[in-house]
């Protein structure tokens, strides 16, 4: 089953010709409208008409998350604000978010690609989609929502949280599709068990899970506990949001990336050189139809590999492997992107706190937990319990207010956090994916 058979099964030569045409249009667009791209292309000595094959893409400079931060908020927009109909944002590394804008056409394309993704996952018109991705600045909720409506399915805009109510609605409304983060699905399963609700008796047949790293082991657990087929979806707000790539239900072996809208490359994150198919490296994406904020060779920092082998489902679009890590130190905690540097700047802003801290990420009862360890030196120390407790509460509150992540601040004795030569080890991730 396809949502858009013509484009999803386009023979590769035709697909690549389309990519080149769209790439050239995009380059012209950013060169004309975005001073940042005009400057970087000029510096690289490349004009848009110098790109005449897909291999020429390799000559183009990369775009980094830092570039988006430097252009905060609208500097990389390639369309006038008059044409921007939606603005989303994801967390940045210094408290300022990364902002993305969508034209009406961008929203339509996003809905189309998300609808394709739903169909690839085995969802069809008539399904009742229980959408528990967060609605708001985060792209997850609205991205899945528009795709569901485009497909013509019935979407329940649940957003996250209030798990008891989620379970009640899932049961009473007869939800057939669940969309949320993989860890939240397991949390729901646990909560349902406590409520005496049996997932085996619910109508769910597929779950579409993304926005955080997970594993095959976790897929097995989710499928057993929730009695559904678990599908991996990939997306990032910088590129579009959810629906950049998805597994097909037929093969469940790699995520088809919609190549008529994105050009994927895998590179060596150190040298920047392109790697051949099958080799593991950093995923770099060029958007070729976006109007609001097209990005050239965007460094996703996600580690994966790519294959162009034909797939059992008949789609001709390349498949990327399940994300196996990051090439930077970003952590994804309950679907929220968190950089250690963000936490550092928050705790350093608190009077008397030394830059010796350690972040411990774990997964307890299927929910990510974050513990922030801070050393108590003489400046911070008080012989009264209430002062020290106020300190840990301040740290917890500041982090929650700035990043939206609940954490536990733990005060530790000085010198207990390991000092290392050069780059300090700031994060211990004990999650077993």
């Amino acid at each position: 089953m396809y949502h858009n058979e013509e484009f999803e099964t386009l023979p590769r030569p035709a697909l690549e010709a389309l990519q080149l045409k769209r790439l050239k249009n995009t380059l012209l667009r950013v060169y004309t409208n975005v001073p940042f791209y005009r400057a970087t292309l000029d510096r690289a000595g490349i004009t848009p008409d110098a790109v005449n094959s897909l291999d020429d893409l390799e000559k183009l400079p990369f775009t980094f998350k830092q570039d988006m931060r430097d252009s905060y908020p609208y500097g990389l927009f390639a369309a006038p604000m008059d044409d921007i109909v939606r603005i989303h944002a994801s967390s940045g590394t210094t408290g300022k978010p990364t902002v993305v804008g969508y034209t009406r056409k961008d929203i339509d394309v996003w809905a189309e690609l998300m609808a394709r993704s739903f169909v690839a996952a085995g969802v069809h018109k008539g399904d009742i989609i229980h959408n528990a991705y967060g609605y708001g600045l985060f792209t997850g909720g609205l991205g899945a929502h528009y795709g569901a409506e485009k497909l013509g399915a019935s979407v329940i805009p649940m957003s996250g949280g209030n798990t008891k109510r989620q379970i009640m609605i899932m049961q009473d409304f007869g939800s057939t599709v669940l969309t949320c983060t993989p860890s939240y699905s397991l949390f729901m399963a646990e909560a349902a068990r406590e409520e005496g609700v049996d997932f085996q008796k619910l109508s769910l047949h597929v779950g579409i899970f993304g926005a955080e790293p997970w594993s095959e082991t976790m897929r097995g657990e989710i499928e057993a506990k929730l009695n559904l087929c678990a599908i991996d979806i990939y997306g990032l707000s910088e590129i579009m949001g959810p629906g950049v790539a998805i597994e097909c239900r037929e093969a469940k072996k790699g995520l088809h990336i919609w190549e008529d809208h994105f050009i994927p490359e895998i590179i060596n994150p150190e040298s920047g050189e392109r790697l051949p198919a099958g080799e593991k490296g950093e995923l770099v994406i060029t958007t070729i139809t976006k109007e609001g904020i097209p990005l050239i060779r965007y460094r996703t920092r996600d580690i994966t590999s790519i294959t162009y082998e034909p797939c059992a489902c008949g789609r001709t679009h390349a498949r990327i492997a399940r994300m196996s890590g990051r090439s930077d130190d970003m952590m994804i905690i309950r679907g929220v992107n968190v950089f250690p540097s963000q936490i550092e700047s928050i705790i350093m802003g608190i009077e008397g706190v030394e830059p010796h801290y350690l972040l411990i990420v774990d997964r307890k009862e299927n929910l990510d937990t974050l513990e922030v360890q801070v050393e108590v030196d003489e400046k911070l120390f008080s012989d009264e319990v209430k002062h020290l407790q106020t300190l840990s509460q301040t740290i917890e509150k500041e982090i929650k207010d700035t990043l939206g992540v609940t954490c536990k601040a733990r005060l530790v004795e000085p010198k207990t956090i390991q000092r290392s030569e050069g780059k300090a080890k700031r994060v211990i991730d004990n999650r077993k994916m």
Partner: protein
């Protein structure tokens, strides 16, 4: 009339208290009184010792966070209602007790209580005016 207490930050994990007493013991420091305030994550050990400078130095050398705090040692009649007499006096002057603990030895017929007040000077003045015996630091350390 003030006395000095040393306070040590300890993580709530096994062996930390033993480690502190070992360090003090090996340095020949005698603990005169102590109290431990604890939470689920950490504790604050408050100590009256015979040689507080040395205690501070040896504990810091071993990486502990140590601070000194002014406290007040007061003799309390060792009979029912003895402590109440003191607390009532302080309350009438709206002086708050941040924490308190008892001394391990008795002083004649009296017990000794260590207090940490929010207003130390005012507390000492009030207690002396009401005729309570506030112990001098030096006397306390040597008891």
């Amino acid at each position: 009339m003030k006395a000095e207490q040393i306070s040590v930050f300890i993580e709530n994990k096994s062996g930390r208290l033993a480690e502190i007493t070992r360090i003090l013991g090996e340095a020949g420091i005698n603990i005169r009184a102590l109290s431990l305030a604890d939470t689920s994550d950490f504790g604050i050990l408050r100590l009256i010792v015979n040689d507080r400078e040395k205690a501070k130095v040896v504990l810091k050398e071993k990486g502990f966070t140590v601070s000194k705090t002014e406290v007040v040692a007061v003799e309390v009649p060792d009979k029912p209602g003895g402590l109440y007499q003191i607390l009532r006096t302080l309350d009438s002057e709206t002086i708050n007790v941040e924490y308190m603990y008892a001394f391990v030895e008795r002083c004649g017929e009296n017990a000794v209580i260590i207090f940490r007040f929010d207003e130390t000077d005012k507390a000492i003045k009030t207690l002396l005016n009401k005729g309570f015996n506030v112990l001098d630091g030096e006397r306390l350390y040597g008891m």
